[in-house]
């Protein structure tokens, strides 16, 4: 029963975040690229002011899997690094926090593009 509740929260949180994106696409004609940029930026800011953290605690993967979770990694990483090493952390922490996402996106993206055949439209 407990595991059901966890997955219900994940599903709800992830679903709601994606629905917000869909409403923005349908109502404002924002392109997917703009949606991604807005969600990352918002995720970073909301984490910094302490709003996204509780959402992650509630929704777990439902909040970390959407691209706003990437912003959560960036903001958490930079604040942790500033705590640890001070001023230099401003430039090191963000990318460090999101390193797994960035490196895997570059490498898997590159390999997948290499093996895929361009489709004829």
């Amino acid at each position: 029963m407990e595991i059901f509740m966890i997955y219900l929260k994940v599903f709800l949180t992830g679903g709601i975040i994606c629905s917000i994106g869909q409403i923005l696409i349908d109502k404002t004609k924002l392109t997917p690229a703009r949606i991604l940029v807005i969600f990352v930026t918002l995720g970073t800011i909301l984490t910094a002011i302490g709003i996204y953290g509780p959402i992650v605690e509630f929704g777990a993967a439902g909040a970390t899997v959407p691209i706003s979770g990437f912003g959560y990694c960036l903001a958490n990483g930079v604040m942790k690094e500033v705590d640890a090493i001070g001023f230099l952390g401003i430039f090191i922490g963000g990318v460090k926090g999101a390193a797994a996402g960035i490196a895997s996106a570059v490498v898997f993206g590159f390999i997948a593009s290499l093996i895929a055949k361009p489709t004829i439209k």
Binding site: C18, S19, Q22, L36, G62, V82, A105, G109
Partner: protein, 152 residues
């Protein structure tokens, strides 16, 4: 068919609107909600499996991100992700798999223009702006956080 070829821009734009397929907002939101929820649940399953093997929570989140990015990239390479995107809309764009898709899709499209300026450069058509704004925001956040810590 409307045979009037002397329409003003406004008239033409209205004409196009009448011909365009009405998008059903309620249905779109529901589909985005369900598909987004499913992708996040898959992420939670990956994370739970990793933690079952004794991986720390933060590392499990990292592993989840890597696996989902892998899945997004290869589903795009197999031309399957576009099929999901057709009906899922934001449900397939907003999750991290959509970020991965945004890297692979233009890279494949521009592959014919060469491996450096075709494939290599176009990988970052969408991911580039995401990183520019994400990292810049994180530096601003870090700077403000550093300033606040300085005075408290």
């Amino acid at each position: 068919m409307n045979s009037n070829v002397n329409m003003s821009n406004q008239e033409y734009s209205d004409f196009v609107d009448t011909k365009a397929k009405k998008s059903n907002l309620g249905k779109n939101i529901l589909l985005a909600f369900v598909v987004g929820g499913i992708i996040c649940s898959i992420g939670q399953i990956i994370s739970d499996i990793a933690m079952n093997y004794g991986v720390a929570k933060q590392d499990a989140t990292c592993i989840t991100t890597i696996v989902l990015i892998f899945l997004g990239a290869f589903l795009t390479a197999l031309n399957l992700y576009a099929k999901i995107g057709k009906f899922a809309g934001a449900g397939s764009i907003v999750p991290i798999t959509g970020f991965s898709n945004s890297i692979v899709a233009p890279a494949i499209e521009f592959k014919t223009e060469g491996y450096i300026l075709g494939l290599g450069a176009n990988m970052f058509k969408v991911a580039g702006p995401v990183l520019v704004y994400g990292i810049t925001t994180s530096v601003i956040v870090g700077f403000v956080y550093w300033l606040i810590k300085l005075f408290i």
